[in-house]
Amino acid sequence: MAQAPAIQLEGVTKRYPGVVANKDVELTVASGEVHAIVGENGAGKSTLMKIVYGMVRPDEGTITIEGAPVNFRTPKDAIDAGIGMVHQHFMLADNLTVLENVILGSEPRSGVMIDFEGASERIRILGESYGLRLQPNQKVEKLSVGERQRVEIIKVLYRGAQILILDEPTAVLVPQEVNELFDSIRDLREEGHTILFISHKLDEVLSIADRITVMRDGQTVGHTTPAEVDSRQLAEMMIGSELPSPETKESTVQEEVLLDVSDLAIFSESGRPVLEDINFVVRKGEIVGIAGVEGNGQAQLVDSLLGLAPTSTGSINLAGKSMVGLETRERRAAGIGLIPEDRHRQGLLLPSPLWENAALGHQYKEPYANGIWIDKKGTREHTAEIVRRFDVATPNVDVPATALSGGNQQKLVVGREIMAGPVVLIAAQPTRGIDIGAQAAVWEELKTARAAGMGILLISADLDELIGLSDTIHVLFEGRLVAKLDPSEITPEILGSYMTGAEEKKAS
């Protein structure tokens, strides 16, 4: 017997001024299945979920729930239709108990009194049937993140939801909690619930979903099942092209030394060495990777190269010119570019418009400056150019940087630094916290810059990235470069053992 699908979306389109967030979305979720929606940030997943949950009304298209066409005006309509949503960020009152949070807004009455006992009993039963163990009288503030999520799920079930939307539910969980969550999801499925699972963690999607819908650029671009694809193929569906790899094809390393650091040392105020015996060169067209567990002196190395922290001893030569004693601005002007490890801390003015952010670090020169003045027109044009070339998703160059997603902020920073054409670019964690598409774009740009002769100092915690991109890798351990490695000969495992100091090979 063909049961009506739990959710069916046909031709759903949602436009915002200037963009189409969802276009002709087709989605069929069978009753009683775990259906995953995957896609990168910005692919349209959140808009789609808001449409299904009644938070956003589509401009076009039809939504059918359990065979009946619906027209949700508010989430309340969706709740009445048996849909529940567990948000990524929980909406719980910390100082209330689990019980109070669950019944909040739909208090069971017995006469004029709230029927706490009945509610408590229901929560106990719900918890037992789905492995969502909770103590109804515990205060929410005492709960772990995983337990809070359980409260959210119970709350949704308590209101009689048959269809559960879980928005990036694993983002906040530790692996142990993820397993527990997945067990509960399986129990819910056993009991006939339908689960819509939003994620961009592909391995998890493959392990829990019955069927998968892939979104890209606001459209549903494919439907598949875990049996048909592996995570690599799924990732390629998501980004619409071959999965990027940091792998560089052929060496573009030239003889000319662009950055020569020798005997660099920094001592703390107590005289303890923070960095010691730092010797390395970056040649033209070369990416030199610095591997290391964070906190082994990477930040201090960057600061000393840029002149943000005083160098105790040693020399830093950029294209033959000594940098020691020069101010940060002079070093920047001499051609040291920086993609900072923490873009919010060192790379952006979050409340300021994009065009002001595009000038940061280069505000003293063309096209950003004109004599003693900031060239607003030139800066805005150049920013538009960065936005275009580096594919920064933004309505215009006047929005504050804080309005952009992390990946787009990073693309702006990368674009700004690469387009400034530095002699040597310090790229610290250049793809941290951004999605696959943005990561691929950043890798491509670094490779292009390398091929064009830029020297790049890559500091990264992503070992695949380091091994794939670098021509040479140095391992920084406790403030010293303990090994110089050829990336073509090592694996992440080997690199990892150097990083923890288990193996040592003197830098040559």
Binding site: Y16, T328, R329, A333, R345, L349, L360, I374, T402, L404
Partner: protein, 372 residues
């Protein structure tokens, strides 16, 4: 975006004014006075041509003081020391200006220069302490205010006071070449009748130039960019090549230089000497005006005019047996209300901008945790 600007720059202050006058009305009612009548009297008295001139005259030092404060605010520096700085600068300017006579323009320029230099020096002290010793500028400038009060009182009574004892204790009179002429002839030429006794300070022209200069310096120049970047995100500004120490020194020198000019309008436009009762409080009220004007030149001009108007129109309350402290209360509430309303409105505007940008890129700032 445009409606957002309108909201923050016009609607927010308007709401704040309504709130402030509302609270003041309650205060008036509590002391048994009809607020409508009181406000009407203030308005009628405050809008006579004479009163308007005095309003502007009152506003000039407040405006310059606000500029001095605002330039520091822009990079997150709180120069509370404008009060002491301008008193000291005015005293030195008055003394030096009385020592010689030359051509008018040159004489005035020399006096302005003295005021700027003294002001800049006085502000350099806390800047140096901050850069070299990490002393917070709020502490340093507050303390320096007391030192400036004591020092100026000492110098005034023991060194700079005129020997020829007149009725008032003051420094020597500055020769007429060192006076800044009134703008009244200009007003007459424009067909505005002015009664004797109200002389529009010629320093107004300089104040406007300073305001325009401030706007260009802060919003259009590379220095202003560095200044604002340092205020918004000091670590990012530092990484971009802004030396925070130099920035502190330069900004405080500018702030101090401007502060030195605060007392010049009354000095060269009215007293022509430094009397013992040289007007006080421009420095402290300047902080309020800077807050009121959100550090924008135009906003601070309006803020200064509002304060100037209230000071002037309050005089009529005295004659009607209304405590004129009511005006001080209004001033205080206006500042508080503006600060609060502005925060609320700008948060709202910012949320809207972010939401529309987010919608346009299908990025959810709330669920991505950026907004937090």
């Amino acid at each position: 975006m445009k409606s957002g600007r309108l909201l923050t720059s016009v609607v927010a202050p308007a709401i704040a004014l309504v709130i402030a006058f509302g609270f003041a009305a309650i205060a008036l009612l509590l002391v048994g006075i009809d607020p409508i009548t009181a406000y009407k009297e203030m308005w009628v008295f405050g809008t006579t041509p004479e009163s308007l001139i005095i309003t502007v005259n009152n506003a000039i030092p407040l405006f310059v003081s606000a500029l001095a404060v605002a330039v520091g605010f822009k990079m997150g520096l709180f120069n509370i020391g404008v009060e002491g700085t301008y008193l000291l600068a005015a005293l030195f300017a008055a003394y030096v200006g009385a020592q010689f006579s030359t051509t008018p323009v040159l004489h005035v320029t020399a006096i302005l220069l003295v005021a700027v230099l003294v002001g800049a020096f006085w502000a350099w002290i806390p800047a140096y302490l901050k850069v070299k010793r990490g002393v917070h500028e709020v502490i340093a400038t507050i303390m320096l205010n007391y030192i400036a009060f004591a020092l100026s009182a000492y110098l005034f009574l023991n060194v700079f006071r005129a020997e020829t004892a007149g009725l008032t204790i003051a420094t020597d009179l500055i020769p007429e070449t060192g006076w800044i002429p009134s703008l009244n002839p200009l007003l007459t030429a424009l067909g505005i009748e002015v009664r004797a006794g109200a002389n529009l300070h010629g320093f107004l022209v300089i104040a406007i130039v300073l305001g325009v200069g401030y706007h260009y310096l802060v919003n259009k120049s590379r220095f202003g960019y560095d200044l604002r970047a340092s205020g918004i995100n000091p670590t990012a500004a530092n990484a971009s090549g802004v030396d925070p120490k130099k920035m502190i020194i330069r900004t405080m020198l500018i702030s101090g230089g401007l502060a030195g000019l605060v007392g010049i309008a009354p000095l060269l436009g009215f007293y022509h000497q430094y009397p013992q009762d040289f007007p006080r409080n421009f420095g402290f009220n300047g902080i309020a005006v800077a807050l009121l004007g959100r550090n924008s030149a135009v906003g601070m001009a309006f803020g200064a005019l509002l304060f100037g108007f209230m000071q002037r129109s309050a005089l009529i309350l005295d004659l009607r047996d209304v405590p004129k402290e009511i005006v001080t209360i209004i001033q205080g509430i206006v500042v508080l209300a503006v600060v609060i309303v502005y925060e609320v409105v700008s948060k709202y505007v910012q949320r809207r901008v972010i939401a529309s940008a987010a919608a346009a890129t299908d990025f959810d700032p709330v669920t991505s945790g950026v907004a937090a």
